[in-house]
């Protein structure tokens, strides 16, 4: 399977130990520019540790992570991270939350305002711009977070089970929204989930992780035509294939 896109993220021999506990065991892979990569693995397999090492929130024990062939530098590389936990700032309005990343990056006010308006519209929250997070529902909160991430137009977007806490209908809606944004912005996305159907629905490629210490069990290309139909035969086949790989029983 040929992919002519440039390498965006290169992970080589990434290892992370917490004291004596080996969590990430010599992981290597590459993500292409503009690729949508899904990473699945059993619960508690160190997926979050993996993303946190990637963004240097945790320091890797050994190994290297390169973006555009340079070591990750959060000041230079434009990265956005959507966390599993609710991460809107309760003291900021919806509008200010969406503009938070732009504010941190010292983007000029007028430019920031345009971006905020643009992405408020994309996620359909213009009417709620002056609301505070405690006035919003769970799905709206997650939309705020997604708008906040996309407003900075990141080169690499990391998502850690962003829809884990939502019900199925909302998840489908937000997944489609995410795909639209990805196609529109050509963002490189690394999406971590334990939901296999979600991974098959979203990803161009799926990395299946092993149990702890976490390594890569298999890499699967997913060429199913979009929009994908979760009931179609090729979809179900692929889902079963991934499920078989993850089964730890």
């Amino acid at each position: 399977m040929e992919d002519n896109r440039k390498d965006k993220v290169k992970v080589t021999h990434l290892t992370k130990k917490f004291d004596d506990l080996l969590v990430l065991d010599d992981i290597s892979f590459t993500v292409k520019e503009g690729e949508f990569l899904c990473i699945v693995g059993p619960t508690g397999c160190g997926k979050t540790t993996f993303l946190n090492s990637l963004t240097k929130l945790y320091k890797p024990t050994s190994g290297e992570i390169l973006i555009n062939d340079e070591p990750v530098d959060l000041l230079r590389h434009n990265i956005a991270y959507i966390f599993q936990e609710y991460s809107t700032m309760p003291w900021l309005t919806v509008e200010e939350n969406v503009g938070f990343g732009l504010d941190i990056k010292n983007i000029p006010k007028s430019e920031a305002k345009e971006k905020v308006n643009e992405y408020l519209q994309v996620v359909g929250l213009e009417k709620y711009r002056n609301y505070y997070p405690d006035q919003l529902s769970a799905s709206m909160l997650q939309r705020v977070v997604i708008a906040r991430a996309f407003a900075t137009e990141p080169e690499v977007l990391l998502m850690d089970e962003p829809y884990g806490q939502l019900d199925i209908e909302l998840r489908f809606r937000l997944e489609d929204e995410l795909l639209k944004l990805w196609e529109r912005n050509k963002t490189t996305v690394i999406f971590i989930t334990h939901n296999i159907e979600e991974a098959v629905y979203l990803g161009e490629r799926i990395l299946v992780l092993t149990n702890k210490p976490t390594g890569i069990k298999k890499e699967i290309y997913n060429n199913i035509q979009r929009p994908r139909n979760i009931a179609a035969k090729d979809f179900v086949d692929l889902r079963n294939e991934v499920t078989d790989l993850i089964k730890w029983w």
């Binding site: 966390f83 003291w91 900021l92 941190i104």
Partner: protein
């Protein structure tokens, strides 16, 4: 008429408690004479004294109510502002910098349980019996609350919020000013309110030091002169001003501090 009751229903309920106390007070003094006026004067007498003092009467303690209030405010607000201006940044720095915490926290933890009033003898030795020593005592009262609450507020900062900012490339300074301090604002304001309360409480004690003006002084002198009406006027004035200062801070908090849930 009915509309008036409907509109002010809750205010009327609140008024009931005040009215109840006044009624009982009136009954045990002027109506049934259960308590000697030397112990507890009737509400009417206290009101009379209050109006007399408020309109500039200087007897029996040598100052009008306004003069006492101004004198007390100078001391308590003076000590309060110094305490808060040092306490809030100190609390924030201790919570934010691990090294500074290791350096300053043990010292602070020892000073913290010492009541402001226990500083009186040292304050007199060091600063004499004038304005400075009283401000010094109030300072300790305000400083402790301001520090503790600012410290606790910063410590509440949500790790995920810091991570969000960090992945956006935030500097340490941005993490502090854009994430930690906004998180701590409600607690900092609580500290400001508590500090105001403690400094107002410490006031009477501070004014036990050779004062010639001040609400605490007025109360003290009136005790020696056997004037419970003036004592009560002083106490009620302290209560009202404390309440007013606290509601001003509450208003400021509503205006400047955003939601926190």
């Amino acid at each position: 008429m009915k509309g008036f009751f409907e509109k002010n229903k809750y205010r009327l309920i609140s008024l009931c408690s005040v009215a109840g106390v006044l009624l009982i007070w009136e009954l045990v003094t002027d109506v049934f004479h259960l308590i000697s006026p030397m112990m507890l004067p009737a509400p009417g007498k206290v009101l009379e004294t209050f109006i007399y003092k408020l309109t500039g009467g200087v007897n029996p303690d040598g100052g009008s109510l306004l003069q006492h209030i101004v004198s007390s405010m100078k001391i308590s607000l003076g000590g309060y502002f110094v305490g808060v201006l040092i306490g809030v940044p100190l609390g924030i720095s201790m919570a934010w910098s691990r090294k500074f915490e290791l350096f300053a926290k043990p010292l602070f933890d020892v000073i913290r349980p010492i009541p402001a009033l226990a500083w009186i003898p040292l304050m007199i030795l060091w600063l004499g019996i004038g304005y400075e020593s009283k401000v010094g005592i109030i300072f300790f009262a305000a400083f402790i609350s301001a520090t503790i609450n600012s410290y606790a507020g910063i410590k509440q900062t949500n790790k995920v919020h810091l991570w969000v900012a960090k992945t956006f490339g935030a500097s340490n300074r941005q993490l502090l000013f854009k994430v930690a301090i906004p998180t701590a604002m409600p607690m900092i304001f609580t500290g400001l309110r508590l500090a105001l309360g403690s400094s107002w409480v410490a006031l009477v004690a501070a004014e036990l030091l050779a004062a010639t003006k001040g609400l605490g002084y007025m109360i003290q002198v009136s005790r020696m002169l056997g004037r419970p009406d003036v004592i009560i006027v002083g106490m009620v004035t302290i209560g009202i001003i404390g309440y007013l200062l606290s509601s001003i801070l509450e208003k400021l908090q509503k205006k400047f501090v955003r939601r926190t849930k």
